[in-house]
């Protein structure tokens, strides 16, 4: 009921944008016998920041990993239902193709510690053969580091190992690594949960900047962060989609009692 309202609502708001970046249809995810995501149908419009919010352990990260088929690394995970990227089912695509369109930033900053700062950004470009020349590679790496607001801090030490950077810098390096591949969607799994407030602020400013060109789906357990960065928000509780809508509407006027309890800190 709420979901369909929301859909028409989004359609009205986005007359010029008829495409959805991601749609899920009756998505169910199981780990063995454990039913983690229960019948979630969502539509995520293009070029917005879409937050998936909920208490720890409600299945947010699991659902996010279904969007780029990273869930398949876990052999016990089973998925039913469908996920579409720009109208095309990801299960009719090669997972490698899906992951080139849908990039991901993780909860723990994970630049490859044995590679240089430069190589971390260049790796995906090189191995996916996305650039034709050394010059183009250099230019794209610089472009991506600038996009991730990291260039000024690292331009003189591109050959230093990535592990020498601070946590916040490492996370921005991971964003640069993703941005370099020019994905259409970036999934972010609690990207600031291990960072200090200043680094968090930088990442959030970055998200605001990036959404001009890509769709961002961000998982967060913090209602405050969802309120700060997102245009739309979905509230997930125990694997069920409780409520979804524009961020302003949901925070000002939650339709469900559970949502209200979560937003006001009485639950979660």
């Amino acid at each position: 009921m709420i979901v369909s309202n929301y859909k028409s609502d989004v359609e009205l708001n986005l007359k010029s944008k008829t495409k959805y970046a991601i749609e899920t249809e009756n998505l169910n995810i199981y780990y063995g016998d454990h039913h983690v995501i229960k019948d979630v149908s969502l539509s995520i419009p293009e070029k917005v920041v879409f937050a998936i919010m909920g208490p720890s352990g409600c299945g947010k990260s699991t659902m996010l990993r279904a969007f780029n088929r990273l869930l398949e690394l876990n052999e016990s995970a089973k998925v039913s239902g469908d996920v579409k990227i720009f109208g095309k089912s990801i299960y009719k695509m090669n997972p490698i193709e899906v992951r080139r369109i849908v990039g991901m930033v993780f909860q723990h900053p994970n630049p490859f510690p044995h590679m240089s700062i430069y190589d971390n950004v260049a790796l995906g470009l090189k191995l996916n053969k996305l650039v034709k020349s050394r010059k183009e590679l250099d230019e794209t790496v610089e472009w991506a580091l600038k996009k991730a607001a990291l260039w000024d801090e690292v331009k003189n030490k591109l050959e230093k190992p990535a592990s020498a950077l601070s946590g916040g810098q490492q996370q921005r390096l991971c964003i640069a690594r993703v941005v370099a591949m020019k994905p259409k969607v970036i999934l972010m799994d609690e990207p600031t949960s291990n960072l200090d407030p200043i680094s968090t602020k930088k990442i959030e400013e970055l998200i605001d900047e990036l959404k001009k060109e890509v769709t961002i789906v961000i998982v967060t357990h913090s209602p405050a962060q969802a309120a700060r960065v997102s245009d739309y928000v979905a509230f997930l509780y125990l694997g069920k989609l409780i409520e979804v809508g524009s961020t302003i509407d949901m925070f000002e006027n939650p339709k469900e009692k559970l949502t209200e309890e979560y937003l006001t800190g009485r639950m979660g």
Binding site: L73, M104, F106, N110, F112, G124, C174, V178
Partner: protein, 283 residues
């Protein structure tokens, strides 16, 4: 009250003392071995001089000569065994780490563990049956194959462990960049596990450099001629020691002590760097 406390303190001291004594008893044989090898071996090396490393075996009862063919043989056998064993073992380790839940992956892990503890003399017998009997002669290649089989489980198990110890966030990160499984493994994970894999490689090499049993029925031994082809018998230091000690000549016993010291030096030169670098393997 006071009495029982004193008793407890006494028990505590007794306990610590007994642990210390037992620890010393455990490591004492090692130091005794090293000490007696040095006491007996150093005079031989001094007396034999440079010629001991390069010369060939003296006749019974006549001087020291040298153990050159055995030294060269040990290096050749170890090199050939690495050439055969390392690629196979590293790929096996990668397979076991990448497909841990598949039937073959699980079986591989178990079999490697069995292989590690397998009596090495049986490996020698197996290679004798497989290579030596059809060829009609002991050979360097048979010895190397035998050593390769002994080496492989160590390298494979270390490779497997090193890859499994990589935090999953790096694996996820690599896959999320749209890389194929082969590229994830060879361009990212192997680099991350480099130190662990190198440790396995060095332990495997150190292990086979000192092995005797797998060579008994395969390499044949040669102490008067240098290496002269893969299909010809070849010497090895442990094999030479084994043969010399059984002879009734004093000069052969002296040579055996010298050879033992050299073998110990080679082993420690391979092993000490491993122990020192092991600390860094933890991610």
């Amino acid at each position: 009250m006071q009495g029982s406390l004193r008793l407890r303190l006494f028990k505590e001291k007794l306990f610590l003392l007994s642990i210390a004594v037992l620890t010393i008893a455990t490591v004492l044989p090692l130091f005794h071995i090293m000490f007696s090898i040095m006491i007996q071996g150093i005079p031989v090396l001094i007396k034999g001089g440079w010629g001991f490393l390069t010369g060939t075996l003296a006749p019974p009862g006549g001087g020291l000569g040298g153990i050159g063919p055995a030294i060269v043989g040990t290096f050749i056998l170890t090199f050939l065994a690495s050439l055969i064993g390392l690629p196979v073992a590293i790929f096996t380790g990668i397979y076991a780490a990448e497909y841990p839940n598949s039937l073959i992956g699980r079986a591989t892990k178990t079999l490697l563990m069995v292989m590690m503890e397998f009596p090495t003399i049986l490996v020698g017998l197996f290679v004798m049956d497989l290579v030596v009997l059809p060829m009609g002669s002991y050979s360097a290649i048979a010895g190397a194959l035998s050593l390769a089989i002994v080496m492989m489980p160590y390298v494979a198990v270390y490779t497997d462990e090193a890859l499994r110890n990589i935090p999953p966030k790096y694996r996820e990160g690599a896959f999320s960049l749209g890389l194929t499984r082969a590229k994830v493994v060879f361009r990212v994970l192997v680099g991350l596990a480099k130190k662990g894999i190198m440790t396995g490689v060095l332990i495997g090499i150190a292990k086979v450099a000192g092995e005797t049993a797998p060579l008994l029925f395969t390499a044949g031994g040669a102490s008067r001629v240098y290496f002269d082809g893969l299909n010809r018998p070849v010497g090895a230091i442990p094999l030479l020691i084994y043969n010399l000690v059984q002879q009734p000549y004093t000069n052969y016993h002296e040579i055996a002590w010298g050879a033992s010291l050299l073998l110990m030096i080679i082993f420690l030169a391979l092993f000490l760097p491993i122990r020192l670098s092991l600390k860094e393997v933890k991610l």
